[in-house]
Symmetry: none
Subunit: 411 residues, 2 copies
């Protein structure tokens, strides 16, 4: 069974708003095992909308349209659908009463155009709207099904949940189960190379890669006649990928890198402090994204100036003079300094050249040193990062955190 | 002239990501006076992509495709375009050298699949990518133009700006001029209320509001027969809005709040340090987003624990005991402490409850205190913010920076 999403609204074509409904509906349909091969956006224009219905129904059994159910002349979704299916519009009394009552409640003036919202294609199924004036509807004809939902997400989503999902579920026939494995420390192409034969041979389950900034995710999805079967099918592939990628996998599903680190630190009873230069607070901020962080994080020092590196962290003037602020030696002394002055078990540091200026032939933009001081033991790592200032900084943060994660595992 | 947007990627059809490129491109094309009547999303599938090219070119002169330029077998945008236009793929030596150099710089292992990114349709125009490995390209044939841009927005947007926009501009026929005014410190509805008569009466220029997290932008756009005329039409409306919104406007066009602050500090010869609790480094990190920040920023202290607040910033134990870590008094002492211990002219601080836990009836989630110490003078501000943990933190950062901006202006 295939479905298609058709968002109606000139505001989408002008780029005034993001098409968040398409994302929501796509995800829900995917979870129900219904294939979505196309999403389309079309404006508030009769002939183009008619054309969009034709195109969509030539490719899919089910079309879910959003938007264009409002009271103005621009709102044409129902009218054009009625034309497409050769149906008349007729007043739906119950909807009309409901709209009247709503306006009364809001003490608002109703205009005659509001009646338009209660005019529905003959024989359609009405989908009630508990969050707005526009009812939705569903037309079924010749094996084709058209759902029409309102555009505002706070009306569209509940209507999908309450009316569309229950109608579609019995039809989908399959149940899907999926597991996402999250990888850090190796690139997308390297990870895929390590799984090439699995990816090439995939049928059920499927293996889909997603590249994030300095991360790669693989989603393994299987379909079965029930949830137990689907889950059973996912298992062996997940196990095999785990075996091959090993420690490169930092977590799964809803795990975040910072969450995994905080949980590891709690588990091992360790505290952490951060010393940052080029990352300018982002490293600590990413750890603080995880709500439980206060159990392990003591503090962060953003020692942007050389003077701060010396007074706050005890970096030696000779180190800065001889090797420079961006050096393995400075990164090491920053990590040691923050661990010691804050009394943390672990200190992590980052110092580098984020650009766009400040680079040279020996130390180019993108050169970042990460330092770790784990109970007195020093580890450093030189990174050669690409991208603009923002990319270099976020990549430095993710790599520093991943380096930290790999060291904590060993403790 | 009509253009159509074709986003390629199964991750869009599965609802894993939002189609932000479609919105960006739609808005840019609208600004250039180019009509967009349809947007389409299609998956990483040869026959459906081929079908999508056919449909799009049956309706539009120009198609802008995004995504599917990566190194994996799933990435089919160029390959299928070549098939559609009857072109062969050939190795583009310069792109191949560039990819090699990038991998060398990153000290990363290149796999054979990376060569795929340098295989381009014969005779196409190469669009260089300064932010990733995938070059874009443009095919022009029989009055039809296909631009292919990478999927990641930080690669897609600069490529559109640098290569596509200059190519399309001479074709569009009308000239548009626009100016964006950026507002902080008042909400969208309040700002719109202050400009209601102007917004109601708009024709040429138009006034479009865009709500950002804790910011509102107004874009004033006029069309004219040439640039001088379009600019002349924009001017008076911009002047009138400036007059009405005054200091609530922090900047225009490419200005960022942090950039405006850094420039003001440089101009006035002032230095700054930050002390953060709930924002966890985000405040300093936002300032560090601006490359010139090293001229004015001395350091940041992320004093997450009470002990760090006392030892690093000299917050008094009695203050913490009597008023708590989330209080006007602690915010004041944090700002004073960071200014004094770092030797900065100005100290800025934030302490609050970001949630989801930690709130209570007296101090609910979303309560944040901002502190400023400007050459010894203390200013504090209590914020009552809404949203989840991430939203509360970013709103606290923006409001702290805006409070700082308004104080620096007065000096």
């Amino acid at each position: 069974m295939t479905a298609e999403i058709l968002a109606v609204g000139t505001e989408l074509l002008l780029g005034d708003i993001l098409n968040t409904n398409a994302r929501y509906l796509s995800r829900e349909l995917a979870d129900m095992g219904i294939n979505v091969y196309y999403q389309t956006v079309v404006g508030d224009n009769r002939s183009r909308l008619l054309n969009a219905y034709r195109t969509a129904f030539s490719r899919a059994d089910i079309v879910i349209a959003t938007g264009g159910l409002g009271p103005t002349e621009d709102d044409l979704t129902k009218e054009t659908a009625a034309e497409y299916f050769g149906l008349k519009l007729e007043l739906h009394e119950r909807s009309w009463e409901k709209i009247n009552a709503l306006f009364k409640k809001m003490h608002a003036n109703m205009t005659t155009t509001n009646k338009k919202q209660a005019m529905m294609p003959e024989g359609c199924l009405i989908l009630t709207n508990d969050n707005g004036t526009a009812p939705g509807c569903c037309i079924e004809r010749d094996g084709k099904t058209l759902f029409m939902l309102p555009g505002p997400p706070n009306e569209c989503i509940p209507m999908f949940e309450n009316s569309v999902k229950p109608a579609l579920k019995p039809r989908s026939g399959v149940v899907l189960a999926s597991k996402t494995l999250k990888i850090c420390g190796i690139g997308e192409s390297q990870a895929e190379e390590m799984l090439k034969d699995l990816i090439d041979a995939q049928t059920n389950p499927t293996i889909a890669p997603y590249a994030k900034t300095s991360e790669v995710w693989f989603r393994i999805t299987a379909s079965g006649k029930d949830e137990a079967e689907a889950r059973r099918l996912v298992g062996p592939t997940v196990d095999e990928i785990r075996l091959r990628l090993g420690e490169n996998i930092y977590g799964e599903d809803d795990d975040s890198l910072e969450g995994v680190i905080v949980k590891l630190l709690i588990e091992k009873g360790l505290t952490l402090s951060c010393a940052e230069s080029c990352t300018g607070g982002l490293l600590t901020a990413k750890l603080v994204d995880f709500p439980g962080v206060s159990a392990v994080l003591l503090e962060g020092a953003i020692t942007y100036s050389n003077s701060a590196k010396m007074t706050r962290l005890g970096v030696k003037p000779e180190t800065l003079e001889k090797y420079g602020a961006v050096s393995e030696q400075t990164a090491a002394e920053m990590a040691k300094g923050i661990a010691e002055t804050s009394g943390a078990d672990i200190g992590v540091s980052a110092t580098g050249i984020a650009g766009p200026d400040g680079g040279g032939p020996e130390k180019p933009v993108g050169l970042v040193y990460v330092g770790l001081c784990v109970k007195g033991r020093i580890i450093t790592k030189a990174l050669h990062l690409t991208g603009d200032r923002a990319k270099v900084r976020i990549r430095a943060v993710v790599t520093a955190l991943d380096t930290l994660r790999r060291e904590i595992i060993k403790i």
